[in-house]
Symmetry: C2
Subunit: 302 residues, 2 copies
Amino acid sequence: MSLLVVGSVAFDAIETPFGKVDRALGGAATYFSVAASYFTHVNLVGVVGEDFTPKDAAIFRGRRIDITGLERAPGKTFFWAGRYGQDLNDRVTLATELNVFANFNPRLPPAYRGCSYVFLANIDPKLQRAVLKQVSRRPKLVALDTMNYWIERTPAELRDTLKHTQVLMINDAETRQLATENNLMRAAGKIFRMGPSTLVIKRGEYGAMMVHDRSVFSVPGFPLWEVHDPTGAGDSFAGGFMGYLASTGRVNDRTLRQAMVYGSVMGSFAVEGFGLDRLRRLKRAEISQRARHFWRLTQFRL
Amino acid sequence: MSLLVVGSVAFDAIETPFGKVDRALGGAATYFSVAASYFTHVNLVGVVGEDFTPKDAAIFRGRRIDITGLERAPGKTFFWAGRYGQDLNDRVTLATELNVFANFNPRLPPAYRGCSYVFLANIDPKLQRAVLKQVSRRPKLVALDTMNYWIERTPAELRDTLKHTQVLMINDAETRQLATENNLMRAAGKIFRMGPSTLVIKRGEYGAMMVHDRSVFSVPGFPLWEVHDPTGAGDSFAGGFMGYLASTGRVNDRTLRQAMVYGSVMGSFAVEGFGLDRLRRLKRAEISQRARHFWRLTQFRL
């Protein structure tokens, strides 16, 4: 089924102990779409500036990604610069230039409005809500990412958007902050009262955990021999998760667990290369093979 | 089969957001033995002072724990005091008084010398080695815990002891430090060249990971509604792990994975209560039930 994503498309300058790039296409919606496109058709809503060239758009071509909803605005594309230390969990943000993103007002092309699966990447909750209002019928599944900035600065708007969200995808710290509760299980209970029925907690190299109803599912981080760049891991996870769910057309405990695994598969590939390097060159067989690796990594018989 | 543990027996003063105790029996060998005793017979080697009363020894009675090897020495028992913050990962050590432990020289009673499973808790690697020399025949499995102090201060002695060790059980940071390598898979490769054939990485609330040969197994942390005191979690994990292995008498990929789960089960119970409160009152059925919970927590079908 059709999948809609709204979020940032950006140029990233990234430095890790393994290399450096000055201008690589990135942003949440970019990582999400590329990851999800291995599973289903994706409709992208975002904004870029005049510096976005046909060469930059090449990443979307030849994939099941519709960029009719990628608006071109006067000015420069959103720019982010960051540096990772030897411990890749240590990240310093060197620059965040919103540019055209500062006045982003998402507009859905008519062909996007019937989407059944919607992913609201980490942007102003007001804009996330505005996107949902443009969807013509109630989507089958709305998933949302957010961050400490919105939890602190726009709590009322975030609460309003959460009422219309089924899956909340955030990290440990954001979970604790949003629920004002340190224990993650209790925090999940409080978050369910805000609207979502499923909480996906992203834990970086430690994997991810999903809580819904009375069921909890945990998937570990994939033990990688090469981690070159953690940028985009969470958004690639979300892309694999939502892409897989949209491809099955069913949302139940079994498909949600599978989605957690495919999300983890895409996140693990994303960090193996710089920027989108690894993610964009994947073969479907590599994805299936890594999913089976996750199986071997976690299975036991009592 | 018989299981031997050498390590600290201590009095702990613990403060967490959920309570406070001034003098609770603790120490690595104590947590280990109590956890392991649910699976097999344990022979304990350690030292206590004159302040150790028959009431303190009660924790070992009525269990399959032999304390013939628990030496009484003139002076006071090892004392440790620590305080945990709201985030239970933040621990401040307030006092470490070695007391009788400073001159500890482990001596194995004759009945202990034929043990096939040996756990060397976190003590001076010289003492760990001295214990191994007293074991009459080559044990089936030697597992070892250590910490940054020994990795930094006595690297040669630690390397010597590691040569005689099959399973190394340490945390992420210790793994990286010992191998001088940030990537855990590469670190495992370097550690295997030091002697151990299996590396168990303990990751607290995130669970644990085992690497051996070409196989990797990960088990997540158990999602708990109540965490009252993290003290002893790692030693309880080790007790469940080694206790289970000794009870089966077989060491292979299947039993090692099961041991990881039973280790996690015991670690998860340990933190639910203050000190040994929860661990000492377990029923065998609760252990089996939680192992099945771990199964439901991690299983998926592709």
